[in-house]
């Protein structure tokens, strides 16, 4: 059983998805999906433990040997990612049943869970597999289900948002496919480890350059890296709240993973960063992204959209850390990946609770909620403080590492810019605080109750994680550091 963990990780939610259709009763399906996702989480914990003690796990699918058959290869980096994705997915699912009651018609509930599990399968698959073509397959699995999930949103704009994402996402996926095809053409292999061994021989060819360009741009599209982020705000705003919470905490993380995997492992550090000036380009785009997106966030009136822009800005921080191509920089990126999942998971779940009670998350709807829904709003405030990077929250830990990484490289001006960027976060978080705590409710006769427990438990689980991992940083820092070091060791 233990030997089959890597495939179990993916197959569990994959098999669970069609089984949902047989159960029919939404309540049952919810419990079933929760169990499936929970099991996936348990598997990921076991995997991480195993990887941290014994090193890389290689699993040959169907017993076919590696370069020919499909190989699942779990190292520290993707074990960490698997943990984040399955963990967040499980926590979010706890609130799903209550939330979709109000947002999705009853007859579609079962399909919601099917799609949710498929999307989860896709993300776990992308991360777990060691085969480049398999990446594309799972990317499509997760993306197609994502388009459908987003289209389930209450408002008609959801359809348009989904369509926008569909077009952009498909372009991205196609680019990745073209890139993979070109690599296959040059090396005759699809196995990532094998690719990393064979690519250096043919590195100086135009085909490999083209492959690299296609892959990076394709991944950046999925990543919503500035300036390829245009699909993200609408998708996050109009998707059902639960879907937003799930995707905001996981989907872009998967894309960051792909970026790191392709540049560091497959193409190799020397090719990605010395032959091509990716460093400067990413540093600049990351910084511009932080400022443009944070500034846009300040001017949003819809809180979901506000935090969608904030997500784009936070991706900027990850990109800046990534662009340093140092162990500390990459550690900072990986830490922020984990920490940002916790922050945004908490915030978007809390917003889902607000939508459940109030019906909308326009800023004016938040008036007076500080009193009416104290626990939910407190969660948003703590999540916001974490975004700002106040000490004792996870945001501080990743900011600290990013600053150290920048100063190590002597990039003082960039360090100042990063800090100024977090000041913009103060502004957009405090707009919400002021509305929620200082404004009287629009209609005093409407009594808004605190969110039900099915919301409060997952929300506060994430909020407590925000503080816990801000204080006890051993797990996250250790894993992130180990993963970053192994990436520079060149070992895939």
């Amino acid at each position: 059983m233990i030997a089959h963990l890597p495939i179990l990780q993916v197959i569990l939610p994959l098999m669970a998805a069609p089984l949902c259709l047989m159960l029919k009763r939404p309540q049952l399906v919810w419990v079933f999906a929760l169990i499936a996702s929970g099991l996936a989480f348990v598997v990921s914990v076991l995997l991480l433990q195993q990887v941290m003690t014994t090193g890389v796990i290689s699993y040959e699918l169907g017993g076919w040997q590696a370069p020919w058959g499909i190989e699942y290869r779990i190292d520290k980096l993707n074990a960490f990612l698997l943990l984040i994705i399955s963990g967040i997915s499980t926590i979010v699912l706890v609130a799903a049943q209550t939330s979709i009651e109000k947002e999705i018609p009853k007859d579609k509930h079962v399909y919601f869970y099917v799609l949710y599990l498929l999307s989860l399968t896709g993300m776990l698959g992308i991360v777990a597999t060691g085969d480049a073509f398999n990446v594309f397959v799972f990317l499509e699995v997760s993306s197609l289900s994502a388009y459908a999930l987003i289209a389930m949103g209450q408002k008609r704009q959801a359809l348009w948002a989904s369509y926008q994402y569909l077009i952009m996402g498909t372009i991205g996926a196609t680019f990745i496919l073209i890139g993979i095809g070109l690599m296959y053409q040059m090396t005759g292999t699809l196995n990532m480890y094998d690719l990393s061994q064979r690519l250096p021989e043919v590195a100086q060819t135009r085909t490999v350059f083209a492959a690299f360009a296609f892959v990076v741009v394709g991944v950046c599209l999925k990543l919503a890296m500035f300036p390829l982020h245009l699909w993200l705000p609408n998708a996050y705003t109009y998707a059902p709240s639960i879907v937003t919470a799930f995707f905001a905490a996981t989907a872009t993380k998967v894309a960051v993973y792909l970026l790191i995997r392709f540049t560091f492992s497959v193409f190799g550090v020397s090719f990605s960063f010395t032959t091509i000036p990716l460093e400067t380009l990413f540093m600049a785009l990351g910084l511009v992204g932080i400022f443009v997106a944070s500034t846009s966030a300040i001017f949003q009136s819809n809180v979901k959209r506000l935090f969608a822009f904030s997500s784009i800005a936070q991706i900027g921080y990850m990109i800046v850390g990534f662009s340093l191509t140092t162990v500390t920089g990459l550690t900072a990126t990986l830490l922020h990946l984990f920490n940002h999942a916790l922050m945004k998971g908490a915030i978007f779940l809390a917003l889902a609770a607000v939508i459940y009670r109030v019906g909308s998350v326009e800023l004016t709807n938040l008036r007076g909620l500080g009193r009416q829904m104290p626990l939910t709003m407190a969660a948003i405030v703590i999540g916001g403080l974490s975004l700002i990077g106040v000490p004792l929250t996870v945001g501080f830990v990743s900011k600290w590492y990013l600053l150290i990484a920048l100063i190590e490289e002597g990039l003082w001006p960039v360090a100042v810019l990063i800090l100024l960027g977090s000041m913009l976060a103060v502004v957009y978080v405090w707009r919400i605080v002021e509305v929620a705590y200082f404004k009287e409710p629009l209609d005093k006769n409407v009594i808004v109750k605190e969110a039900p427990l099915s919301f409060l438990i997952p929300i506060w689980a994430l909020v407590i994680a925000n503080i816990y991992f801000g204080i006890d940083t051993r797990l996250s820092v250790q894993v992130a550091e180990a993963a970053a070091q192994s990436l520079f060791g060149g070992a895939l």
Binding site: L385, G389, P391, V397, L419, L420, W430, F438, D472
Partner: protein
């Protein structure tokens, strides 16, 4: 009780934080709730005094909580300067609570439970800050202090309070994150440690230019020290209820700022390094300018609390100057001034609040003749003013004496003149208030310029007025702090010993 000093140290930080649960639980019964606060205050004072005696006995008291990141710990260590700050803050917390009970009730403030809760958290943060063993721990409590006082500043919940709160939080968070955090990370990177150590933590061959830039970052980053141009938050914070202004914005928060500046100067840079940094002189003049400009602005304020706020900005400049002078008398003067100004300014704020509660007056121009109605309050105001100005028989004399000595020793004659001029300005903006209160017929400077004589019916109005002092708990608080000002003049010995011990380490 036989608690070890280590346990007491941790209790001193935890106790105010733990009391918040009791405060919330008893929120519906104001008397019990205030009882909880007072009991906590008393316990805290007991703990701090015990720690003080332990320190005097020469014991090393430290505690370790947690290693946040490799090498970065949350740990505590008691040294004289922190002890001094903790003693003042814990004692004045008790007095302020006493005052607040009278003030908040007679002013019919809402959300009193939240008020006492945030107050307790703030004091817990001050204790943590005072006892922190490294810059990292200090930074954490510094931020906790900022965030926990925000709801106090915006207590009224009005548009004005919201605006004030915005300035407050905006400046304090921006400076602390953009400058202070950057300075801390850089120090960590250059020195490899953040532990406070007498004589500084930088290597001897550290690049003077970079260290100089770091010093600027520190002084600007510690926004709570209110050096111009980052002082705007302090007047903005005056929208808070008076007990908040008095304890937090005359004692806890602002003193946390200058305390941090002193800590950084003495224990991160060390006086020897500080004296040779290229930016020290620039910062000294900046602080000097801050002292003078704030005094001048204070003269033009008609709102009493605003005038006191600018006066605080000016007095904080004194402490910063003392720290940057990098001599022992400078540091002694600064340390003592933290205490002296705390007692003086808290009294002044108490008086301002008392006047507001009893007579509903906040403008200085309306305060002519109120000495007849509030004689005790105005006498207290007079004595506290003397302490701020720095003349006998009030405690401020001593600290200003040492600060002056510091400027002479280092031959900073420009600064000496600035300090003297500022003292004159202090007289000009503080003393007229009690004078006019008792002698309404006296002309103000402004009236004299315009040739206006105060109308004769002022006297008629006020002779008939009855004595109308503040509620008893508030009045007791005023009397206690005023006596404190006098005591510090007559018996400054313990304070002086603590201040001298700052530079020699544990006795």
């Amino acid at each position: 009780m036989n608690l070890s000093l280590e346990v007491m140290l941790q209790l001193a930080i935890m106790l105010p934080l733990l009391s918040t649960f009791a405060i919330v639980a008893t929120g519906k019964y104001p008397n019990i709730r205030e009882g909880v606060t007072i009991t906590t205050c008393l316990c805290l004072i007991y703990l701090v005094v015990n720690l003080y005696q332990g320190l005097l006995a020469g014991q090393a008291i430290s505690a370790f909580w947690w290693e946040l990141l490799p090498g970065l710990t949350i740990s505590f260590d008691i040294e004289p300067l922190g002890m001094l700050f903790a003693l003042i803050a814990s004692f004045l917390w008790l007095v302020t609570t006493c005052y607040a009970i009278g003030y908040m009730r007679s002013h019919h403030e809402k959300n009193q439970t939240r008020f006492y809760l945030c107050f307790a958290v703030a004091i817990g943060a001050v204790m943590g800050l005072a006892f922190s063993a490294n810059l990292f721990t200090l930074f954490i409590f510094y931020e906790v202090l900022t965030l926990s006082t925000y709801p106090l500043v915006t207590h009224a919940g009005t548009e004005k309070a919201k605006k004030g709160g915005r300035t407050y939080l905006g400046i304090l968070l921006t400076t602390s994150i953009v400058f202070f955090l950057l300075a801390i990370v850089s120090t960590w990177f250059i020195a490899g440690t953040l532990d406070f150590k007498l004589g500084g933590i930088f290597a001897d061959d550290v690049d003077k230019t970079i260290a100089g830039i770091l010093l600027v970052l520190f002084v600007f980053g510690i926004g709570k020290a209110a050096i111009m141009p980052f002082h705007r938050w302090l007047p903005a914070a005056m929208v808070a209820p008076t007990p908040v202004s008095s304890l937090l914005h005359a004692v806890a928060v602002v003193k946390a700022g200058v305390f941090t500046v002193l800590k950084v100067c003495v224990f991160i840079f060390g006086l020897d390094l500080l004296a040779v940094l290229p930016t020290t002189q620039f910062l000294l003049y900046l602080a000097g300018a801050s002292v003078l400009l704030a005094s001048i602005i204070a003269m033009r304020q008609d709102n009493l609390k605003a005038r006191l706020a600018y006066s605080t900005v000016s007095q904080l400049g004194y402490v910063t100057i003392g720290a940057l002078l990098a001599t022992s008398s400078g540091v002694i003067g600064s340390s003592m001034h933290i205490a002296m100004h705390a007692f003086g300014k808290i009294t002044l704020f108490f008086c301002a609040g008392a006047i507001l509660v009893s007579l509903h007056k906040s403008k200085i121009s309306d305060m002519r003749g109120i000495g007849r109605q509030m004689p005790l309050t105005m006498i207290a105001f007079f004595i506290a003013s003397l302490s701020i100005i720095g003349v006998p028989p009030a405690g401020g004399t001593w600290s200003k004496w040492y600060l002056m000595m510091g400027t002479i020793e280092t031959e900073q004659f420009v600064l000496m003149v600035i300090l003297m001029v500022s003292s004159l300005l202090n007289i000009a903006y503080l003393l007229p208030i009690p004078f006019h209160a008792f002698f309404p017929k006296l002309m103000s400077f402004k009236d004299a310029e315009q040739g206006v004589r105060p109308s004769s019916n002022i006297e008629n109005t006020y002779t008939r007025a009855e004595i109308k002092e503040a509620p008893l708990p508030s009045l007791i608080a005023i009397v206690v702090t005023t006596l404190g000002c006098l005591m510090l003049f007559i018996y400054p010995q313990p304070l002086f010993e603590l201040a001298t011990a700052v530079l020699t380490g544990r006795e």
